[in-house]
Symmetry: C2
Subunit: 503 residues, 2 copies
């Protein structure tokens, strides 16, 4: 059907304020409504439509787009534009959300594993999460602080505050750090909505896609995720035994990394403590190369024997160490209060970035932490949790020694939250986890702490979340699983790790 | 000085595990230490060094880099590499932080203006911030909730919780929205660290650099900043008087924007309420174009006469409206609790992004808001603040009418926080602000709410932060400023707005 006879360029009014494409669309819409152009009619190609009305091809395209969006016409790719049937567009009425999303970096831990770890079956004892025992959260102290001090606080303190943080908290944190040999005043402190936010902000401020970052291997999964999501390439520095400063220097010369991320004390997951001499050597090397070090230090207050060596930040002779702290491990995670200590110029820049993200961290929790620190409640609380966690560590060490020593190697951590274990036998910790789920016990397999996750023999168990009775039952279930897997393994081939092409 | 005679390629051990560049660096370092190569000596160019040792140029470059980082040599750009003097590198020992930062999008509001607004001189009455009156924060209710309910709550609720939010709060928010005609269950809700975080997350999930976004003009500065920082181009839809749906449709057809950001009720800063019919027409248009609408609704509970029309989200017939709410304006900003309502597939994707940023929002505040809602404290609190804010609005309206009506136009807002004023006389609101600072009164000039800030005649004043006595004093200072500026303006030329080349 030649329909160009129904369309006439002379009907356009070039002096009108109404755009030409809209005039054309209205003309065609009118003829569709009057059924002069019945449904199913093929309309002229865009080029022809442009000729009919003596307009540009863009105008013709826009006219068809308008009609399409009104639901009056539809385009069949490679065929042409047709007058729509009633109902032609009904099936499109849902918004196709997932197709509108930006690309998302894959989680290093496969979703199957993540489900096992994060949502275990009912009755499961989870040794997976790195979390303080809720029974030890100082809720009574918080209530007391709320009752005794809230009425003495100006309500303005709970309005909008500077992005850098609640000033009394910044001062209190600086004083706390001074007590640890870290020189700081409040202008060096940015309070965070959890130390995870510090990693995120640092990645926004310091990293461009393609930049290199050096990290211990294994290391904290949340840091790996944030740096990889920022497009960084991660160089791994093995941290079992001695940290290889030679390898680090090699990385520095060859790749000029933007930063080194390191957990010097009770490392997550390995539990390692960097010795004092190694800390000094690292600072010396970092100074020489003007290397930015991000020192993540969530665990150093949780020592169960001697105090650990001073933080890298306390040794920082060149101003290149950025220190990350948190109250999640020593008080409670629900506060979501962490902090960064660094030079003011960095704090200011991070605050500009933070402002876009949440304006400032919540002041109820900032105020609670301030009171906790200023009323001198922290030392007593730390004494309590250290004593309790030490008992749990010892209980778990004895139980592992008694029940699992034939199947796994482990070292007893001097502080922090974790035992880092390694299977002696064949098979991977990922496979062990699958078996463990059947015995209602869970942990985190080692691959979760690697930048390129590949099944390995290591796994992390947390000894702080549960009391000794539960821990003992947990180790028994683990031991049972290890025995079962050992039996199954006998005569089995190594697991198939080949990469199969997807066709 | 020809120093190539001191260097001999035969000294390299190609079978060694030590990289060649390091062997070369060690050789040269040795000769520097022995002062065979005294300080100031010019070393061979990289190409020549490569020839001497029969290695690649990259190896030669890396050898010099190593020496440079040891502080033994230094490179003078365009000249060559020299053996360093003691002290040559001392001046470099500070980390040059600002040069290590990623690019930062400029704040639309100039820094001089920002200073005037955010850090006014002592004694200034600030009508700038859009903030509830701290004297009306329900701190007593929060203390009561803490005392009566904390001990009945499982401590686990203050440990780590899912990123999507504290489950009882998600349920309570869904119930609250149902009461407003918005269908939602907890899986539709993501709790946020303030609604600013919602804007940030949406920009991360929906926007790529170069995408178009449609916004009202003027509009909320925080939204402009986040979208522009994501690299979006903003199309402005004037919102004085009627919203032009024709212009919006034109934008939709020509630019296919990713989303429309809109504050339909008591718009910030204009105070405008989108009429019911316009809401229906907007939804109809959006449905036809499958347009994603971000509806920001911080003020709709703060009406001082009739209730406003239902939210766009209540009319959403195609699932394309994303609803943003907050407790900052109706309870207190320090909670930093907001929320997004949307389809579960969007909530899940936003939660994946949020996990990187802060794991989850703080549970102390989430728990407090839950108790506030579940114990039925919200309606009473809203009645109190509405009554009080209505009085303040009326007081300010009368005072502006009495003292400033010759110099400014304004309309009395039916709800929310703001009067939106316009100078009748010549001169800009930016200039007015500079004069106002001298009279210790401040407000936000209109350009802050524009995507391309240019000095204009409009400005925003907030009537909720201060009591009536302070408001009256504020308006008197404003009136004094207006009179002074009018006098000065007589016979003055228009301000010079030319762009001068910077040479």
């Amino acid at each position: 059907m030649d329909i160009s006879k129904y369309l006439n360029g002379s009907e356009l009014d070039t002096s009108s304020k109404q755009p030409l494409y809209l005039q054309i669309a209205l003309l065609i819409a009118d003829k569709i409504h009057k059924q002069i152009l019945p449904s199913g009619t093929k309309l002229p190609p865009e080029r022809e439509l442009a000729d009919i009305f003596t307009v540009s091809r863009t105008t013709a395209i826009n006219a068809y787009r308008n009609l399409e969006q009104q639901g009056l016409v539809w385009t069949k790719v490679g065929s042409g534009t047709y007058v729509a049937q009633a109902g032609d567009l009904e099936s499109l009425s849902e918004v196709p959300w997932p197709q509108l999303f930006t690309a998302y970096p894959q989680n290093p831990l496969g979703s199957m594993l993540r489900d096992l770890v994060s949502t275990p079956a009912p009755g499961t004892i989870s040794l997976a999460a790195g979390m303080a025992d809720p029974a030890l959260y100082p809720m009574d102290v918080l209530t007391e602080l709320f009752n005794n001090h809230l009425s003495k606080t100006a309500p303005e303190d709970f309005g909008h505050i500077p992005t850098e943080g609640y000033s009394p908290l910044r001062r209190a944190i600086a004083a706390m750090l001074n007590g640890k040999g870290i020189p700081a005043s409040s202008e060096n402190i940015l309070t965070l909505s959890g130390s995870q936010q510090g990693l995120y902000l640092l990645s926004k401020v310091l990293l461009e896609p393609g930049d290199y970052v050096v990290m211990e291997a294994p290391t904290f999964i949340g840091a790996i995720q944030v740096f990889q999501a920022a497009g960084a390439r991660v160089l791994s520095l093995p941290c079992s035994g001695k940290l290889s400063l030679e390898l680090l220097e090699d990385f520095l010369i060859r790749y000029r990394p933007k930063l080194l991320y390191v957990i010097p004390t009770y490392q997550n997951p390995s539990g390692r403590v960097m010795p004092a001499q190694e800390r000094q050597d690292l600072i010396k090397l970092a100074k020489r190369h003007r290397l930015v070090i991000v020192e993540d230090d969530p665990y150093s207050d949780l020592y169960y024997g001697e105090q650990p060596p001073q933080a890298l930040k306390a040794l920082d002779s060149y101003g290149g160490v950025i220190y990350l702290g948190t109250f999640s491990k020593i008080l409670l995670p629900g506060l979501r209060i962490g902090y960064i200590a660094g030079p003011p110029v960095l704090i200011n820049r991070l605050a500009l970035e933070k402002q876009y993200i949440d304006l400032h961290s919540n002041n109820i929790a900032q105020w609670l932490v301030t009171m906790f620190l200023n009323e001198g409640k922290l030392p007593g609380h730390l004494t309590t949790v250290r004593r309790e966690y030490k008992k749990r560590r010892d209980t778990m060490a004895k139980a592992l020694q008694r029940l699992c020593v034939n199947e796994i190697d482990f070292t007893v951590p001097e502080g922090g939250f974790y035992f880092w274990c390694k299977l002696k036998q064949s098979g991977t910790s990922q496979r062990l986890l699958q078996e463990a789920a059947k015995n209602r016990i869970s942990f985190v397999p080692g691959e979760a702490f690697q930048t390129v996750p590949t099944p390995d023999k290591e796994f992390r168990i947390c000894f702080t979340t549960h009391n000794e009775t539960v821990l003992l039952e947990g180790v028994q279930r683990l031991a049972k699983t290890l025995t079962q897997v050992t039996k199954k393994n006998k005569g089995n081939d190594a697991p198939d790790c080949s990469v199969w092409p997807i066709i």
